[in-house]
């Protein structure tokens, strides 16, 4: 049903259609509207046969999901940023135990300094936890990916996180076609657990495994993610047949076929990027864009095929590997091993700094001109940074960097000491 609705609410409705049996939630901006809406649906009886557990922390929430999933229940939770980190140990545990939990990550920056706005540092910091990571470009896709996620998770017995940009998507109200219960029921069968805590057939889950077998057990998670590389496109195709629209998959190219320069990105920024690509194409430039939708497993072959013929690749990322540079670009480079082309990393939008069409246009023109460096920080005030570094090196204790920089840009009143 077509509605004008907030992204979070639509995601909540979609999760409810998937008939979860246990929802465990701990609030954190900007995921709150999702868990609040699900709470309403459980309370009013709209969502039946579902237990809603208000956890005492994110670590508690993921642990509740682990117990629920191990007992054969379809389990769901949502978090962001600091909360995702707080459940880090449990994330690895869930993946290692092969529990098909689905979680929404409302992408948000990680402190310090504390920041509630969007970037990808949270999910990127846990890219190796063993969880499958899918990135939504629009709220419609966020809705669709949750439905696909439960199907995928239960098919490979691995947990799946659906990443959607915090505030930009979660708090945007837009036109969304919400799936109907019958459609979801036809697409998503009942949860048939591969392992289950059951008094009729007792088994031991979570045994200690020494050097004799750990390697093999751990490798299984990787093997399952490799299986997912085949399954993700299959599920996306089946979704398209059942729901009438394209959603998900491993990658999506936009005007890449004959493009000399391709910009690569994840998530909602693709919308703004497409507008810029269209504009530049009008002006005769050979440009295209590639969205990576499945970041884990990383679709090495598909990325190589999509980018291999280009002369220049610009990876735009909303996260920074402190001490080295790009995260997504490192993965993209791996896909392009042996192929020679001009590769550029652009870190942008950290902590919610808006990425404008205008800046993207300048960026791409600079790239086309051959003037783009290997690593760029888009719209970052380099002078402000330099001044702060000089201050810090000048002898007297400089105080917290955040305070002095904010004072410089005039946000903090300089009067109080």
């Amino acid at each position: 049903m077509l509605r004008q609705i907030e992204g979070s609410r639509a995601v909540g409705d979609a999760v409810a259609r998937c008939r979860p049996e246990v929802i465990c939630a701990y609030p954190i901006s900007p995921q709150t509207h999702i868990v609040e809406h699900l709470s309403d649906l459980v309370r009013t009886g709209d969502l039946e046969r579902c237990e809603y557990v208000l956890a005492e922390s994110e670590f508690g929430a993921m642990s509740v999901a682990i117990g629920a999933s191990a007992a054969g229940g379809r389990a769901y939770t949502a978090t962001a940023s600091q909360g995702l980190l707080y459940m880090a140990e449990a994330l690895f545990n869930a993946a290692g135990l092969g529990l098909p939990i689905v979680m929404t990550v409302a992408n948000r920056a990680i402190g310090a300094p504390i920041n509630i706005w969007n970037d990808h540092s949270d999910s990127m910091s846990l890219r190796d936890s063993g969880w499958i990571q899918l990135y939504a470009e629009t709220n419609q896709e966020a809705v669709d990916l949750h439905v696909q996620a439960f199907r995928l998770a239960e098919a490979v017995s691995l947990p799946v996180m659906v990443c959607m940009d915090g505030f930009i998507l979660t708090h945007a109200v837009e036109r969304i076609d919400s799936p109907a219960q019958e459609q979801v029921d036809a697409f998503l069968p009942r949860f048939e657990p591969r392992q289950m805590l059951n008094p009729d057939e007792p088994l031991t889950i979570g045994a200690m495994v020494g050097p004799e077998a750990f390697f093999e057990v751990k490798y299984l998670a990787h093997a399952k993610q490799m299986q997912a590389l085949d399954l993700i496109p299959e599920i996306a195709s089946e979704f398209e047949r059942g729901f009438g629209r394209a959603s998900g998959g491993l990658i999506r190219g936009y005007r890449t076929d004959d493009a000399e320069t391709i910009i690569v990105a994840l998530g909602s920024i693709m919308g703004t990027i497409e507008e810029v690509i269209d504009e530049l194409r009008e002006e005769g430039h050979s440009v295209g864009a590639l969205a990576i939708k499945s970041f884990r497993p990383f679709p090495l072959d598909e990325v190589r095929l999509a980018l291999g013929a280009a002369k220049r690749v610009v990876v735009l990322e909303k996260a920074l590997a402190v001490g080295i540079g790009g995260i997504v670009s490192a993965n993209v480079r791996m896909a392009l091993s042996g192929i020679e082309l001009d590769g550029h990393t652009v870190v942008a939008g950290l902590g919610g700094r808006p990425i404008t069409g205008r800046s993207l246009r300048s960026l791409l023109l600079e790239a086309l001109d051959g003037g783009l460096k290997a690593l760029t920080f888009l719209d970052m005030d380099a002078e402000l940074v330099d001044r702060e570094l000089r201050r810090a090196g000048s002898g007297a204790p400089p105080g917290p960097h955040a305070e002095s920089m904010l004072r410089e840009i005039g946000i903090v009143a300089a009067s109080s000491h």
Partner: protein, 193 residues
């Protein structure tokens, strides 16, 4: 694409205004995108919300830097925050106030080339009258409907009633309708002048 930027303070329903506007546009079978710009949420702090309206699906998601229309829910922001930043030539501004444009100190805006159209509406007073509360957002949406053919006052009313039930909904609808008529008259005057 038509871009609207709404300025106000926390607690005045700025975010809801943008959302309802997008629902009204949806009602006219248009694509629409509404989202807030967040500061720390606290009552009284400046809040900005955005709404894009278009015939085709809307892809871009950056904050609106060049609005076609500005809605100013709280005139105390006028000389504190750069509410007019990026306003397109010949753009429209709807201000919630009982004072005149000159009294607000905005005369110099009218001296620009391709000056904006500045319209006022006593949104807070209308809200107090019809709703019993000083919450002007519905009134301003009603006023907005008189500024453009993209949304209809009926669409605005439907959006309000969908969100607010019973007496609250009815009160907001009445305020919107009153503001619509006020601004429609103003527009006609300006056109005639």
């Amino acid at each position: 694409m038509f871009q609207v930027r709404i300025h106000g303070r926390g607690g005045q329903g700025v975010v809801t205004a943008a959302e309802l506007l997008s629902v009204a546009a949806f009602d006219s079978d248009l694509h629409s995108q509404a989202f807030p710009s967040f500061g720390s949420e606290r009552t009284g702090a400046p809040v900005t919300a955005f709404c894009r309206i278009d015939q085709r699906p809307i892809r871009t998601r950056e904050p609106i830097a060049e609005p076609d229309v500005l809605i100013i829910q709280d005139p105390t922001l006028l000389h504190q925050v750069d509410v007019f930043g990026g306003l397109r030539p010949s753009g429209k501004v709807l201000i919630n106030t009982t004072r005149t444009v000159e009294q607000l100190g905005l005369g110099e805006l009218l001296e620009r080339s391709e000056p904006p159209t500045l319209l006022t509406v006593p949104g807070t007073e209308l809200a107090r009258e019809h709703l019993g509360r000083a919450l002007p957002n519905a009134a301003l949406l009603g006023g907005f409907a008189a500024l453009t053919a993209l949304v209809t006052i009926e669409g605005v009313e439907r959006a309000i009633r969908e969100r607010f039930a019973g007496a609250v909904g009815a009160g907001n609808v009445a305020a919107a309708r009153a503001a619509y008529e006020f601004v429609a008259d103003e527009v006609a005057e300006v056109a005639g002048a």
